[in-house]
């Protein structure tokens, strides 16, 4: 049994133990209970840790977003509340809690109340299968990836509930647009993840990370360093930006377009829950992308393995979030028809081609030949699709159906 005296703790602080510190901590805490309660207590402890950690990360992410966007726009972000504005999330949280919760008279109260709850519950459930470190996954499921996508699909239901129950035409319109966008890009997300399943041969996220955590020399076997992996990674980034309604795909919630889309009738804490749900969805999708393409908790170079695995995982997730913020600060919003066209006419065919190229990679066997062939096919396809897409369509005179 792990005895927690200071001396033994200090002496046991080798790199391996630092890596497993949360597991050791959990085992030590759980050992205080009788054996019957131990598994349940272990699970509850892990759940509490996750449910406590991700809102804290959310607070940090919101602050980082505001300050990062500010710097990109030649201004300071918030810097009045606390040193460098570090307590701004606290101020935001207090504001959200004390605001009056206004529900429209005609709104469907039950569904209006349930929508943010469904979103938050589903999004937190999807965090259950992410391996956040070596031996640090809440539930090691055989089809963990499928569970993740099942939870992601349920987000659309929550958005519909929010939009419809508000009895507001802007909300409904925003919800319909959001669902259309999310369904289209969900397909792309799934197909770009399928290539990883094809190569690693398992739907379990733990096994996918284990397959990438090996090194040849000092270089890791991350899937992003292969041609099909790089293409899938780029597609995954695009699709995940669209899934979480981030710029440049944030038309459903763009303030200048449609008031606040399906958020319009939500105020106070329910809005804060939606906001939380969106950001935690960002974290979970970033976590999935890290697991599938960036090697999960493995270090980029083999000698950097001294740094704990959970630190690497969160570092990579934070890099994703920084990239999302960077993208938001750079790109203007896409119009609804533009983003649907982009999904169905460019990204989806490219994803299907990528699937084919991955199969080719698998069956060509080891060697440099498959690198060359796959890279050439993907690059050529990208250039050709790009040319086709950028060609100006002949736009004739507009015909209006109803406005005669």
């Amino acid at each position: 049994m792990f005895v927690a005296s200071p001396i033994s703790v200090a002496s046991a602080m080798s790199a391996a133990n630092l890596d497993q510190i949360f597991v050791i901590l959990k085992n030590w805490l759980v050992a205080f209970l009788p054996p019957f309660w131990q598994p349940i207590a272990g699970v509850i402890l892990c759940v509490v840790a996750i449910v406590g950690l991700y809102p804290a990360l959310f607070a940090i992410a919101v602050l980082m977003e505001r300050k990062g966007l500010g710097r990109m726009q030649n201004r300071y972000g918030p810097n009045r509340v606390g040193p460098f504005g570090l307590f701004q999330p606290v101020a935001d949280g207090i504001k959200a809690l004390i605001k009056e919760d206004v529900v429209p008279f005609n709104a469907d109260h039950v569904v209006h109340f349930l929508a943010p709850l469904v979103l938050v519950v589903v999004v937190f459930m999807s965090l259950a299968v992410l391996p956040m470190g070596r031996n640090m996954v809440l539930v090691d499921m055989d089809s963990g990836l499928l569970f993740f996508f099942a939870m992601g699909a349920s987000v659309e239901l929550s958005i519909f509930m929010a939009g419809w129950s508000s009895r507001n035409k802007y909300s409904l319109l925003g919800a319909m647009r959001a669902i259309a966008q999310m369904v289209s890009y969900e397909l792309v997300l799934l197909l770009s993840s399928v290539v990883v399943v094809m190569i690693s041969g398992s739907l379990s996220l733990v096994k996918i990370v284990d397959a990438q955590a090996t090194y040849s020399g000092i270089f890791p076997h991350w899937y992003v360093f292969t041609p099909w992996g790089l293409a899938s990674f780029v597609i995954f980034v695009i699709a995940s930006t669209a899934e979480t309604n981030r710029s440049p795909f944030d038309l459903p919630e763009g303030e200048s377009e449609i008031v606040a889309g399906y958020f319009t009738e939500y105020s106070g804490f329910k809005f804060a829950l939606f906001f939380l749900g969106e950001y935690v969805e960002m974290f979970s999708v970033a976590g999935l992308g890290t697991t599938l393409f960036l090697g999960g908790w493995s270090a980029p170079l083999s000698f950097l393995g001294v740094i704990p695995s959970w630190l690497w995982f969160f570092l990579k997730v934070e890099l994703w979030i920084c990239f999302f913020i960077w993208l938001r600060g750079t790109l203007p919003r896409l119009r609804q028809d533009q983003l649907m066209t982009f999904a169905w006419k460019f990204v989806l065919p490219f994803t299907l081609l990528n699937l084919f190229v991955t199969a080719l990679w698998r069956f060509m066997g080891e060697g440099w030949a498959r690198w060359v062939v796959c890279s050439v096919i993907l690059a050529a396809a990208y250039v050709v699709f790009g040319r086709l897409g950028l060609a100006r369509r002949h736009v004739g005179p507009r015909s209006y159906r109803y406005a005669e």
Binding site: R71, N74, R75, Y76, N79, W326, T330, L331
Partner: protein
Amino acid sequence: MLGEGIIKGLMETARNFAGSYVSKERLTTVQYPEERVAPAENARVFPFLVYDGPEWLSGLRCVACQICEKECPPKCIYIDKSADKKPDAVGKPQNYPTRFDIDISVCMSCQICVEVCPFEAIKMDTKFELATDDRFGGLLLDREQLAKSNEYFHQIHPTEATEIDDRMAAERAAAEAKAKAAAEAAAAKAAAAKAAPPAGTPAAPAAAAPKDAAPKDTAPKDGGKD
């Protein structure tokens, strides 16, 4: 190629982000209200009345001609003309405003009052922190609140103030020279009248010449070219 624009955009934003920590050019924000950006020279917010000298009541340039009141588009100036006359900075007796109110909640900062004032009496101020919680009279500035010294005018609009001062000084000098010449002419005339028959014509054209030159200097006395 597809995606080139996005990459260029991302690079630009990254340059902004990194540059904001090192160069002032990439972070143009100032921490108001601890730091303030000095307003530009020709910034304008609401009007004020200029006075010369140490005392505002006697040094006000305004002679209550009421041209600005009539020209103001939203009619936010309220002037009451005095019944008596006081000597102004030059010494000439002029009317003065017993009430000069500007309602700055109405004023639209168009500067027309400045442009039409013939006496360089009303100019644009640059102070904008005028918010008040007195909702009934707080934004109606009266004569005393509007009167600010010529030194203050020099501070906020140095070029304009110097130019006006120079011009007014020149006019004043010309007026004084004219007065002196008139006095000399009168004295010469008196002397000529004393030695009238033998002096005759040579004194008269010599006295007439400076008398002709002086009015041309004092004639263009309009204000507001600036």
